[in-house]
Symmetry: C2
Subunit: 211 residues, 2 copies
Amino acid sequence: MAPPSKVRPRTRIQREKQDVILNAALDVFSLHGFRGATIDQIAEAAGMSKPNLLYYFSSKEEIHRRLLEDMLDLWLDPLREFDAAGDPVSELRSYIRRKLEMARDFPRESRLFANEMLQGAPHAIDVLAGELKALVDDKAGVIESWMREGKITRTDPYHLIFSIWATTQHYADFDVQVRAVLGPARGGEGRFEDAARYLENLFMHGLVPKG
Amino acid sequence: MAPPSKVRPRTRIQREKQDVILNAALDVFSLHGFRGATIDQIAEAAGMSKPNLLYYFSSKEEIHRRLLEDMLDLWLDPLREFDAAGDPVSELRSYIRRKLEMARDFPRESRLFANEMLQGAPHAIDVLAGELKALVDDKAGVIESWMREGKITRTDPYHLIFSIWATTQHYADFDVQVRAVLGPARGGEGRFEDAARYLENLFMHGLVPKG
DNA sequence: TAACACTTTTTCCAACTGGTCAAAAATTCC
DNA sequence: GGAATTTTTGACCAGTTGGAAAAAGTGTTA
């Protein structure tokens, strides 16, 4: 009789339905943002009635919060793996590759995050200024030490990280534009490999010919 | 007695109030997206009642359409100026600089556009696949000819343009994140000049030391 | 099979949504 | 100044929104 309401599922059905709901909600939130999304839309996408959905999550906010938490965790993984002990150039190269793979494999999560940023991060500002900043500070330190050792060009490590985020997430967040501009011939599945090749070259060597 | 309803303002008051409304609407739409924005919010931000606002624009869609048109025009300006006859490296450099200035000076327009992209460009897809694609095709051709002449490194011109868009617009669209990560010390006004310096270096030379 | 917890549906609600309309108020123009 | 026009307001409407309540159904297990 009493709704579960708590975050932890207790039965098999609760676990399954919560997953279905979260998946549907990710579709809707990533497309319309928090305010633009409605519980009805999510419920329909999840194949259940609105009151039924509200039996598993007590509010729209709760679903969104949960989605954002899960996403942030996934999102920061590649940066966490960034290894100070590795070879600088190949570490950066594989970080870029992993971020691009995330944009390809989790475009909805990327858009959910982008929506949150566009709205001024009302639900995530604490994570940004706390956990994320700490993590970036740490990795920026690593990058700076590589620069001091002459392993990579001396430049701003923070903006370097920003530019990796921007260029990779662009392929998820601005997917429509990318497809429209590339056209049917080049906008198919191959676009991510073209992007990977291009970005590797950009970050490694830039545009001015050497020598 | 009859509302103007048409796009062209006939009196001084109509011109002024339409501007006030468009400005307020830009605030609201860029923050919440089309679906998430309400006429009431816009009216309040514009300092007038909802029916009064609807006297100047016949619907929410009309305001949004108008905003998007004006923005796309402004947005494509830097790319139009891209000059085939100029020096390749300095043309690219100044394009990057101009795009970054737009992100700094028109962040709301950038976010309006980003919102539209995240939602799959329902109102702009025609422009993307038409006017924009044609323009990019043209400029990509210019870039390609520069590459053939050996003036810049051989790479994918389309993805080059994407990466310029992505890196510059990032400072408008993800402003909250940038500020949060940089912290109070480096997240102030100077961040755009730091970004300009960094991006110039990235696009020109990349990260691998030369020689 | 009967008591039990778990799940789903039906009904409902108050607040909000985009938008209309007629009348009142302000402005402009002669 | 007064008529004509433009602008503003207040009341209103039908549809949607997030969510509550309670009853009805569905297992599960002693």
